[in-house]
């Protein structure tokens, strides 16, 4: 070192000393009239006569500021200082409006990051929206859609889902309350429908064996099953859905959860369920603890 400069770092040096490659968390620009700045975690070459910056936001893009009357440099035009909360909303086929399934208060910039699993969506096209709440109102929707598909039954609660793959059977019935009255003066009887009762119920059976990267875990299936029995007897409503597109909010109604077995590693579990709410109704989902936001009841 000589006068603060390194001999091996001068313009004429053969090789320069490497600098720190630590993360950059602060950028200051000054002393010029700025048109555009850009930062990406990928090494790129600018090209063309105008040395155009990439206009495509990618997973590596970290900053792109255009100074068009503001200093925003992200891919959204809001910051934690004005956003009270963000909502995740969902719309499936048949829904007229997006329904809030998750809400998170924003206290810091990191709170904008969201990672969650939605276990309650049916098969088919599902749209989600990321909505910032500013001054109590919903700001612009950031939407995306995905094709949901799976090939077995699933029974789930908030944050947990059990696939029902082997020997699965769901014998269901649709219940309503009617009375048939035969009157003396009529050839045909009068049928009365009493009340609004209309719900599915049925008997489920399945061989519960865990499937992981190493295949079917038959030897430890007893332990996996015991975990499922705790799940089935915890008094919480469940979401039951199938690969056809049906989704039911159900409660386990059988007094006994029974097992049938022709081999100690091939045990079929049987239990009964009945609908206790609508899996499409945000109010029912909130009341039964499936979602944390009671916005679109």
């Amino acid at each position: 070192m000589f006068l603060g400069s390194c001999f091996a770092s001068s313009k004429e040096s053969l090789a320069s000393s490497p600098a720190s490659s630590s993360d950059i968390s602060d950028l200051t620009i000054a002393s010029a009239i700025y048109d555009e700045i850009f930062a990406t975690e990928k090494v790129i070459e600018l090209s063309g006569v105008d040395q155009t910056f990439p206009s495509v936001w990618g997973f590596d893009t970290r900053l792109h500021a255009l100074f068009q009357g503001n200093l925003y440099g992200g891919n959204v035009s809001f910051t934690e200082s004005i956003v009270e909360s963000i909502r995740i909303k969902k719309r499936v086929k048949g829904d007229k409006k997006f329904k809030t399934i998750y809400e998170k208060p924003i206290r810091s910039n990191e709170d904008f990051k969201i990672e969650l699993m939605d276990y309650y969506e049916p098969v088919g096209t599902v749209e989600y929206a990321y909505v910032p709440i500013i001054s109590g109102g919903e700001n612009n929707y950031i939407t995306n859609r995905v094709e949901s598909w799976f090939d077995s039954y699933f029974i789930c609660e908030k944050d947990i889902s059990y696939p029902m793959v082997l020997d699965t059977r769901f014998d269901k019935k649709l219940t309503q309350r009617t009375n048939l009255i035969e009157l003396l003066g009529r050839e045909k009887p009068v049928v009365l429908k009493g009340g609004k009762i209309r719900y599915f119920s049925g008997d489920l059976s399945c061989t519960f064996i865990e499937l992981n990267e190493d295949g079917w875990q038959t030897h430890s299936s007893w332990e996996y099953r015991n975990g499922i029995y705790d799940f089935l007897t915890n008094s919480q409503p469940k979401i039951l859905k199938d690969f056809l597109g049906n989704v039911y909010m159900v409660a386990v109604t059988s007094n006994d959860i029974t097992e049938e077995s022709d081999h100690y590693e091939h045990v079929t579990t049987k239990f009964s369920v009945a609908e206790c709410g609508s899996a499409y109704d945000a109010g029912d989902l909130y009341d039964n603890g499936f979602i944390n936001a009671d916005i679109d009841r």
């Binding site: 390194c6 770092s9 950028l27 010029a32 009239i33 700045i37 206009s55 200093l71």
Partner: protein
């Protein structure tokens, strides 16, 4: 025998309407329409027109008033001038001024995003309430893509259309009904979607996780705003004048590992530190703008000096010499970091 008048939808009296009826007698040659005020029973219209059709065209100058509630009676005349009986009970109808019923999208509009909250405007001078509305999105071929269905909550006249693809044209149409069954229709409105490619990367990442029967939802939101030392002067809403100011990107800004940073600017202050970035610890990178006549520059030239300070050791790089910029030019400065090594390149381009 009398003609049977079909239900009459509310209409704007300044436009008139066709009153349709059924008649099973001799061929019609003339028709008479008698209209009374419902409340007072006063006759306000009574005219005969020549027609052979089973409809009576009520003209715009009928002198009916919007906001009024009337009862219509109708008779027909055959070739011999024989008049049919008037109905004993007339057909009531309302007159209302044509409501304003329009979407927030106008024909030829260009929407700048893949999702758009479509607003609907409804006003009616006589305060006839809107009963229901429906907003439908169509492809350019007029195939239905999305519909709100009939919405009866008219306190919020809006519907979010989504999944709009860049550089495509769509039709949107709203229909509705007032409380007294006046049909409303905006017609098909053609619009174009054109958004910057920035939206191809979606800040909301969705993955189908078939093994869990779930959708994984991840946000790729980068929210950062520069904090200025003092109020920013924007030039033509396109440039930020920082010649006597500075802006720091801090909260929400983080770059890990190798990177490229690029800057487009003009009129830098000579010998000033124009760019500074740091890990907020002992690693600092400064970029200076220099102008001067050097032994190897071949006249007065401009260049940039990158100084990387790390744990006391300093690392210096220079860009190539560039001619002094003209008023029509600006600098593009690009710095790459690969491992612990930096590259710096500068070019002059037209503004």
């Amino acid at each position: 025998m009398y003609a049977t008048i079909h239900p009459i939808e509310p209409f704007d009296s300044s436009i008139g309407t066709d009153i349709h009826f059924s008649w099973q007698g001799n061929q019609i040659y003339k028709a008479r329409c008698l209209i009374k005020e419902n409340a007072s029973g006063t006759t306000v219209y009574d005219k005969i027109i020549s027609t052979m059709k089973q409809s009576y065209s009520l003209p715009a100058d009928s002198e009916l008033k919007n906001g009024g509630y009337y009862v219509a009676y109708l008779s027909v005349f055959d070739i011999d001038g024989k008049e049919s009986t008037l109905q004993s009970v007339g057909t009531p109808f309302y007159c209302y001024e044509t409501p304003e019923f329009k979407l927030s999208v106008n024909p030829g509009d260009v929407l700048k995003s893949s999702a758009y909250q479509t607003g609907l405007i409804y006003t009616q001078k006589q305060n006839e309430p809107l009963n229901s509305f429906c907003i439908t999105l169509y492809t350019y071929q007029k195939t239905e893509l999305q519909t709100s269905g009939d919405l009866y909550d008219t306190s919020q006249l809006e519907y979010l259309i989504s999944g709009l693809e860049n550089a495509k044209q769509y039709y949107i149409r709203a229909t509705g009904k007032t409380l007294h069954n006046m049909n409303l229709d905006t017609g098909y409105i053609l619009f174009t979607v054109s958004y910057t490619q920035a939206q191809i990367f979606n800040p909301l990442e969705l993955n189908n996780r078939a093994e869990h029967g779930a959708i994984e939802i991840k946000s790729n939101i980068i929210s950062t705003i520069g904090i200025p030392e003092k109020d920013i002067i924007y030039i033509d809403n396109e440039f930020a004048d920082l010649r006597e100011n500075f802006v720091t990107y801090d909260i929400g800004f983080e770059v890990n590992g190798d990177f490229t940073k690029a800057f487009r600017f003009h009129r830098p202050v000579p010998n000033a530190k124009i760019i500074h970035f740091t890990n907020k610890d002992q690693c600092h990178v400064n970029i200076y703008y220099r102008e001067g006549n050097y032994s190897d520059s071949g006249g007065e030239k401009a260049f940039f000096e990158l100084e990387a300070v790390s744990l006391g050791s300093k690392y210096i790089l220079f860009s190539k010499y560039l001619p002094l910029p003209k008023d029509t030019q600006q600098f593009v400065l690009c710095t790459n970091r690969i491992g612990g090594y930096y590259e710096i390149r500068a070019e002059l381009v037209n503004k």
